[in-house]
Structures are given as structure tokens and as C-alpha cells.
Amino acid sequence: MSNTVIEFNNVTKRYGSLTAVDAVTLSVAQGEYFALLGPNGAGKTTLVKMMLDFTRPTSGTISVNGISSTNTACRNAIGYLAENHRMPPHLSGRQYLQRCAELCGFSRREAAEQCDRSIERVGMREKEHSKASSYSKGMIQRFGLASALVGNAKLLILDEPTAGLDPIGIREMRLLLESLKGQGMTILLSSHLLSEVEKICDTAAIINKGKLMVKDSISSIIRDGETLEAVFVRLVKGLT
């Protein structure tokens, strides 16, 4: 497919005798809001990490925009928000974003412009000069999302972006992600929050014990009258 952004081709990852990811083959198309779902330890984070070359697959290949994940160039258009995002406590949100932008290759002035834009997008203007040590979990997640947005990323990889957030924080994060829709951005979202996924994602893949159970559009996954949660439980527990 010509508009495929992410492609996993028969990817397996083993840690000793444990198989974290078992022969997964899937693809994500451009502009898609894609959800990676699964219980704890299903292999979601391992898939995300392999995409970023944080860990190498035991077998199989991964490509992003047609470039192998082991090539640093594939990360040019990727913005990444880690699960439980952390920031150096001595830096302010702005200093942190400035560094992120400079590491993307922007000059100091361009990086400052990028920071302004990202801070505006995540609504953290008031707190941009406070030290990260004074930020709440929600604020750190917002700055994490801002750091993923600097550098004009075309693909956002969000690993549990709502982890540790209160209901208001979760709602705000959802609104933020919804606001990014329609800007031509591809989003891969790894999450537990099925109700949130149901609201914002187009396509989902459910993995369990490293195996891909299903990959389809949300509307096709959900049967008549069922919720995504009901389908998820049925698939994960092996019910028919």
C-alpha cells in the first residue's frame, strides 16, 4: 500500500524464553488514528519500542515511511510520548522543549518558534517557565505531548498518554488529540482506556500475549449493540 506509514512484517521479540511479541504483521495508513490495545504485558510497549529502535526485534522487520526502523532517518517525522513521561526536574517546560527542538535540528531561533507553537497547542503558556519539579503528572504529560509535537512530526506515537491522569486530565488529553485530527497527522495510540479509544480512533488492533488477535476499523470490530470493552474482554479471555 503506497500510503502505509508503519509496517510490521512478521515481527517477533523474545526475552530469553519469554515471547513478548509473536509474529505480528500489521500496517498503519497515513492519516489514521490507530489504537494498539491489549492487557498489561500484552506486548504493546515492546511494539512501540521496536518502532523507535529502542529495542531490536528477534526476527521480522519494521519500517516507518518506508525506512527501516534501525535507520535513524525514520525518526525524522516521529513524535513520541512515552508511558509515564519524565522530565529533568531542574529544567522548565520551555527549556525542555527548546532542547527537544534543537535536537530535531532547528536553530536556536527556530526552536524558540517551535516551542511557542507547541506550548500554545497544549495550553501550557502559564507554566512554561516553572521548573518541572513543580509540575503535576498532567502537566508533565502535556509537556511530553508538546515535545512530541515539536519538529512538525507527521506521525505521533503515544504510549499510554493518559496513564496516571485524573478524569479531567484524560478529557483534556482526548480533546487535545481530537484537535490534532484533520491536520493530516497519523497517530498510533497505545492505551487501556477503551472508552477514550472508541471516541477518537478509526482503527484498532488488539494484541494478547504478544499475538495479534484482531485488526480492523473500530466500527467493524464492534458488533451490534456491543461496546469496544465487551469485544476486548471477549477476545482477551478467549470467549466466543
Binding site: 519500542k49 523507535l52 529502535d53 529502542f54 529495542t55 531490536r56 535513524t72 532517518a73 525514520c74 525518526r75 525524522n76 516521529i78 513520541y80 512515552a82 513521561h85 519524565r86 522530565m87 529533568p88 526536574p89 531542574h90 532542547r99 527537544c100 534543537e102 535536537l103 530535531c104 535540528g105 532547528f106 536553530s107 527556530e110 515535545s147 519538529g151 512538525n152
Partner: protein
């Protein structure tokens, strides 16, 4: 937008490493304590020392104190470099810096090279400042400017590079404290080994174990270990010999500086290879 123009991630990460290390209170306190200790030596230059009723030459005493201080500072900064290096990867992991950097189009070798160079520059700067204090104290008290001090200091920076690379490599395999203790052990053995070597080659020792003419001593295993061991102490002795213009006598297989630089290459190779296989958290 002029993206990727002359972008050098190594320089950026190096700059951030320096900035992050310098802002730590523990680093500032450590530096102030070291500087205060170095300042304390200025008293040695002012007094007249009397031994067996004879007044010793103040300039000679000053010269001796300067050389001794040079050794102590070089050894102490080697220790400090190991301390600074042992937690750098862990801290980067804990503060999310490592994943932030490596999620950008930056290769792992660039990250490791920048961290190593950053730590090396910081330790070198630390040592140069302390050696400069000695240089100025000597200049003020003896009216002699020993600029070779700074050159000797630069030569000793090879020791710092070795220690940083070795601790960074070992900290990927072992708990950080163990990595630090291992390199501390290597350094101590180097100093003790060179001390024993110097003592065994002294005139007195030579006279005591006088060998008959024509007797050829074969190379024992401990001599091989001694010659192959990282020659941290010997590099310092060579640097000190350059300060005072003395002849540096060395009977080893390779020059101490070459020995240390070869170890640096080996450690750098092992570090880069190991980090390539490291899982980023």
C-alpha cells in the same frame, strides 16, 4: 524552515551534559572543597623550613610542593571523573533524557560520544582550574611561571578519558558502585605497581639484589601483567618529568601514554558495542 542545517547533535548533547552537570549542587560543593584544599598549599611557599639546623631553599621547597600538588590533583580528579561518570546513564534514564534524545533522529553512538566528551571536558576543565591555582600560587610566591604545568595537565587528561570510558562501559554491565570500585581498583593497582617498580629500580635496591654479569633475567608473568596494566600513574610521572625537564626513564613495552590511549580505544569500542545492544527504557 532550514531543518537539519549543519545540525550536530553531538555538540548539542555535549552542551546539555555540561550544563546539567554544572548545575548540580554536589558538583559545585565538590569543586569548592577541592579549590579550598589547593589554596591551603600556599602556606608551604611562605615559610622557611629548617632541617637539622639548616635553612632549606624556599624555591626548592616550592618546586617540590608544586609537583606533589600536581600529582595529588591529577589523581583526585581521576577519582572525581569516575564518580561523575558512574551515574550518568542511570540519571538520563530516570529523567527521561535518554528516551527523549534517542526518539529523535540521533544515533546511539552520537549520544554516547557526546556524553563521553561532555564528561571528559568537564573533568579536564576541573583539573585545569585546580592546576592553574597551583600555577598562580607558585608564580606569586617564587616569581616562576611553570606554564608546562598546563601542558602536563593536558597529558594527564588521557587518564580521565580512560576512566570515564571504563566506568561508562562497566556501569552498563554492573551496578554503578561496583563499576566505580573496579576502576578505582585498577587505578590503585597502577599507582602501587609503579611505586614498587620505582623502588625496585632504585640504586639501593639494585645494589641489594646485585646480579652477576652476563645474567639475563627472564620476563616473569607479574612483569607482563605490570607492563600491560593501564599505566595511569606512569603517565602522571611522565607529565611531571616534563614540568621539571627531567629525563623520564621507561623500560616498558610501549610508552605509558600509548598504553593508556590504546586502553581508551578498547574501552570506547566495548562501550559503543554494548550500548548498541542496550534496551532503552
Amino acid at each position: 524552515m532550514n531543518l537539519q542545517k549543519a545540525h550536530n547533535p553531538i555538540l548539542s548533547i555535549l552542551k546539555y551534559t555540561l550544563a546539567d552537570e554544572i548545575q548540580h549542587k554536589s558538583f559545585i560543593v565538590l569543586f569548592l572543597i577541592c579549590a579550598a584544599f589547593v589554596f591551603l598549599t600556599r602556606g608551604c611557599y611562605n615559610d622557611n623550613f629548617v632541617m637539622n639546623g639548616q635553612v632549606l631553599n624556599a624555591q626548592a621547597i616550592g618546586w617540590f610542593v608544586s609537583k606533589a600538588s600536581f600529582h595529588v590533583i591529577a589523581a583526585a580528579v581521576t577519582l572525581i571523573a569516575a564518580l561523575l561518570s558512574m551515574r550518568i546513564f542511570r540519571r538520563d534514564r530516570d529523567e527521561g533524557i535518554q528516551s527523549c534524545i534517542l526518539a529523535k533522529p540521533i544515533a546511539r553512538w552520537q549520544y554516547v560520544a557526546a556524553k563521553t566528551l561532555g564528561l571528559w571536558m568537564l573533568s579536564l576543565l576541573f583539573m585545569l582550574v585546580l592546576h592553574s591555582i597551583i600555577l598562580f600560587i607558585t608564580l606569586l610566591n617564587t616569581k616562576t611561571a611553570i606554564f608546562s604545568f598546563l601542558f602536563a595537565s593536558l597529558l594527564c587528561s588521557s587518564n580521565l578519558l580512560f576512566v570515564i570510558l571504563a566506568v561508562l562501559f562497566l556501569s552498563l554491565l554492573l551496578p554503578e558502585v561496583i563499576a566505580f570500585l573496579c576502576i578505582l581498583g585498577v587505578s590503585i593497582v597502577s599507582y602501587i605497581g609503579d611505586g614498587i617498580y620505582a623502588a625496585s629500580h632504585s640504586q639501593m635496591a639494585q645494589a641489594m639484589v646485585h646480579q652477576p654479569q652476563g645474567y639475563e633475567q627472564s620476563l616473569t608473568w607479574w612483569q607482563v601483567v605490570y607492563y600491560l596494566w593501564p599505566k595511569l600513574s606512569a603517565v602522571q610521572q611522565w607529565a611531571t618529568a616534563l614540568i621539571s625537564g627531567e629525563t623520564f626513564r621507561w623500560t616498558g613495552l610501549v610508552h605509558p601514554l600509548v598504553n593508556v590511549l590504546l586502553y581508551c580505544l578498547l574501552m570506547a569500542f566495548l562501550l559503543f558495542m554494548r550500548f548498541e545492544r542496550e534496551d532503552i527504557v
